[in-house]
Each structure stands twice: as C-alpha cells, then as structure tokens.
Point group: C2
Chain length 328, copies 2
C-alpha cells in the first residue's frame, strides 16, 4: 500500500517533494495545501488535489504523512506543533539554535495526539548531522569540520538585494580548498572564519547606481561579509538569469581522530555532498523520512523524532532481508 | 554505569577493541578470552582478566556485551550463534555472500535466549553499507560505486606468500583516481574490474628464487591479480619491515543520482575513509555498536540486528537532548 503524502506550502521545496514522490513507487501525492487561492495554483501531478490550507482537517484520514514545506523563521515554529495534532508530519526546520525548543513543542503535541513527527530533516541539519554523530561516536577523540558549498546562500543573496542601488544578486559560499586539504592531511587545525570559506557575489545594479559604493557596502557588511574574503562581480540581468539561475549547494563534513594505546594512528572520515538543486535534494531526504514516519506510526509509536532516532532500514522501501542481501 | 565488555580472540582486532575501550569513559574491559594458555597472554589493561575461552560461561553475569574478534571463514559462523546463547554479542562477520545465512543462525539463537546480537559491524560491511543504504533511499534513481584503498589486502598478501620462492609480501589495493574523478564529474560510468583498482605488491624473495618467474605467477594469478594492472616490487625483508608494517586501509562509497520532474538535476554523495590502522578503526566501530547492543538489551529487545537496524543515537554516549543541542 502506498504512503499518501500531503504537502503544505508549494514553493521550491514543495515542488521538490512532488518530484521526489514521482521517483518512489510506494509513495503518492494526495494533496497540496496552499495559502493562495487554490484555483491559481497548478501542480505537476494530475491526480493530486489542490486545496486551501484552511481545509486541511478534512484530509485527516486521507493522508498518511504531511510534509511541511514552509520556512523556519516564522512558518514551521507555528505549523509543525499545530499540524501534528491531525497528521504525522515531517519538517526541515533548520534554525540550529532553536531546535531544542522546537523539538519540545512538537513532541508534546505529537504525544498528546498519538502522531509521529520527524523534524529538522534535510542535509544540514540532516545528513550532515548524522555524519557528525557517527564520526564522534566512532572516533571519540578527534576534531569536527563542516564546510559548506560551493552553493547559493539565500540569506546572503537577500542581504545584498537590500542594498540601495542593487537590482538583483546571487551569492555563492565557497569552501577554501587548501583548508580542506589541511584537514585531509591528518593535522587537526583550528581555522578562523576567513580561512574556511570565501564569498563570491554576482550583482546587477540599478541604472545609475554607484558600483564602488555598493561593493564597499557588501564587503564591510557585519556578520554576512566582513569576516570573509569577498569577491564582487557586476553583471547584467541577462547574465544573471543565464548563468546563475540554479540553486546548487553542498559541502563537507569531516571527522579526524586517533586510535591506538598511544593514540599513534590517525583516521579521517569525509562526507561530501555536491548538489545541483538544494531544494530537490532536501525534498528527496524528506520523502525517505516520510516513509520512516509512516512505518513508525503503523507500529504505534508517537512523539517527536530527529534523524538521530531513525534506524536506517526505515528509510528504504526494501525489506530487511533484501537490504542485508544487497547492500550490507 | 559502565558497559562491561568481554573480548573473545586477542589478535589485531581484539587489541584494537581493548584500545577503543580506553577512549570511551562509559566502557570497561572485564575480560579477554583466548584459546591459548591464559598465562602466556599479556594484555594492556591492568584491570582485565585473561581467561581460557572454555571458561566463558562463568562470566555470564559479569559481561554486558561480548565482542567476537575471530575470523569470518571459520570462527564466527560457529562462535556467534553459540556465544549469543549466553551473552549479547557483536561480530564483524565480513563474508558478504554468507551474511543472510549467518543472520538467520544468529537470530534464532539470540531470540531463543533473549539476547541481542549485532553482526557484520565495521566499515565494509558496516559504515560503507550504511552509506549505500542512505544513498539509495535518498536518490532512488542513480548508480552506486564502492572503491577500496589505498590499503593492505590480507587475502592478496597471503596469496603472494603461498608462491614458491616468496619469503614475505604485502599487497596494496589502490583505487584509480581517474575513475573516481569520472564518477565525481556527474556521469554514471560502468567500469571493468581493471578500470577501478590497481594492485601494488612488495615482495621479499627467498634466496636464489627466480624473480621473473615469481612476478609472472603473481600477475597471472586468477581472481586475485589477472584482472588487474599489477605492479611488483622486490625489496629486502628490512625494507618490508621498515616501510610496510602498517595496516592502512580505506576507500570510497559514492552514490550519484538525479532529481526533478524531468530528472534534470544531478547529485553526488561521497563517503570516504582514510585509515592508518584497519583493525583499530574497525574496533572503534565495534565499540560504538556494543554501546547500542547494551542499550537495546536493557530495553528488553532481542534477536539479530545489523547496522541498518540501529538508530544512530544509540551509538553515542550523549543523551538525545545533548545530541540535538550539539550535533543536529
């Protein structure tokens, strides 16, 4: 029997979830819920309903797992504890510092209503977190490194767009290759912010704007750019559309550590993602964890979980027997 | 309360487990069991008992998890189903083709005696298997690649040593860098055996042996070398000891796949291990899973498990709350 999925929020992430469902035979898209007028939203899946989010409760018995595709700043802190009252839910809440608080809110509502929630699913938090955990559990004496990129930072792109005279902009976060090589070589360096990542900006100016002034404002912007080596390129709107319309991302999680009675042996665990589409890859992770949530719910479990609490076998459509024979 | 560990078999792997226990504050080594005369075996841990394996049943209530450090060819198929009658056990059974049969044997005995077993723990099978599973679950349409090395293959080294005229030998399996780069570039190539790995042999000859004949015998040996580009270096016993006494290993698991409605976006997941000591790293994985086995047993679970069945949080000494705050 298929897992019937609902999507709340039909932006890049929601569309990514819709695409991921199509790649998984045991999944089907039941309905997309939007705050917009449903008649103005057209989805890719012929068989899926498009509904207003106000009508979501009518779908209680027709959806096995609801995937919440809103933002972490304001949507998810309210939505996840609310919708878990009626559905098993998955979210990609990614404000690391607020995860403990979000977990507690969702856990209480999930337990009170006997549903399963899996929060903070994606790649960071998500797959990167898993690799930090596995790395630390296996090499308890060592150092952790996370590098991001090369990829588009939405937050940094937005920050540039807010500058006077900027019409449009895209910012790439780029890991410093020599820093990666230093970690791989087996030393356990401590890096400054500047030593780990550089920032590259592609900026379209409004007519008559002062390029030198904009560049100076970008490079000295506190938190966002001041602590980094930043490069600014001014390009035309056409060039921006042609060469920078994708949403690639990725990065590296490394754990270096020592073993042996005298700690004489060094080890390196490196995990790397190289993603053409950040939202589509994140969505693919969400769908694998939706499979797990449905299974856990069928087992009678409830409460809030994270990727740390999910045994890997729950993510696969294959049986334990098939997995042992083909992948172990 | 500490997890009290027993070790059966005190070779490279057993000593590795002993070293790993020292790096984990919640673990203690209770006893080492050997087939040799215990008085001839000295261990590194002052507080640990050394016993004959025949006396293992006397330790039933004094050991929480027994780690079986024997070989997969003959030791583990007999030992794991036998010792799980009295203990929770971990093994590193690595004969991939025989895992389903081994699982069934261990599962029956574990359930009948209400113990937990986790089999085939290490890095391949083990961490590499996990990455194959996560990769396939997240990118269901794609290709899998596993490369091994650079590292010492015990089996290939042994095969060379059996050749007439060979006094000693060490064989390294080396991944072909250009093949790795092809996978990373985003194509989904199919490789022949020869295209993925090369083999490098360091050989010490007996006095008067015919080097050309030995080299020919190595390079044409079916299964082991005939399908590979193999390099043979003849060196002195002193050079072998000085430069090739370590047991490094490692490798790469890659999953490349596509997402999007038209499958237009490519993604690459790459997992890499670079290990100075294969047995010590494997032992570190064993100890993390011993922690999980002890917890599962305390929860009242029983039966045979693999790395696929263990939620990552069980591997860490930190609480769920600590993990969410520090690693998610």
């Amino acid at each position: 029997m298929s897992t019937r999925i609902g999507i709340i929020g039909y932006g890049n992430l929601g569309r990514g979830v819709e695409c991921a469902i199509r790649q998984n035979e045991d999944m089907e898209l039941a309905a997309v819920f939007t705050r917009r007028n449903p008649s103005t939203v057209s989805v890719l899946t012929d068989t899926a309903a498009v509904c207003n989010v106000a009508d979501v409760e009518a779908w209680k018995d027709k959806i096995d797992v609801m995937i919440l595709c809103g933002g972490s700043a304001t949507d998810l802190p309210e939505q996840t504890p609310e919708f878990v009252k009626h559905f098993n839910v998955i979210d990609s809440f990614d404000t690391h510092a607020r995860i403990p608080e979000h977990f507690d809110n969702v856990d209480a509502a999930a337990k009170a209503n006997s549903h399963v929630a899996i929060i903070s699913v994606g790649w960071d938090p998500g797959l990167f977190s898993l690799n930090r955990l596995y790395g630390n559990a296996i090499l308890p004496e060592g150092s952790d490194y996370t590098f991001w990129g090369k990829g588009v930072s939405q937050g940094h792109s937005d920050a540039i767009r807010r500058i006077e005279g900027v019409k449009n902009a895209k910012q790439y976060t780029i890991p410093v290759e020599s820093a990666l090589e230093t970690v791989r070589s087996g030393s356990s360096p401590e890096f400054t912010t500047r030593e780990k990542h550089t920032r590259e900006c592609f900026v379209v100016l409004e007519e008559g704007a002062d390029a030198a002034k904009v560049e100076e404002e970008i490079k000295t912007m506190p938190n966002y750019f001041a602590d980094y080596d930043t490069t600014v390129h001014f390009i035309s709107e056409e060039e921006l559309m042609a060469d920078h319309s994708g949403i690639p991302h990725g990065g590296f999680v490394l754990r270096s550590g020592v073993t042996g009675w005298e700690k004489e042996n060094k080890h390196l665990i490196e995990y790397r993602l190289k993603l053409d589409s950040n939202p589509e890859f994140t969505s693919s992770v969400l769908i694998a964890y939706a499979r797990a949530a449905h299974r856990l719910a069928k087992e009678g479990q409830s409460g809030c979980k994270t990727v740390f609490d999910i045994a890997p076998a729950y993510l696969s459509s294959k049986s334990g027997e098939e997995l042992r024979a083909s992948m172990l």
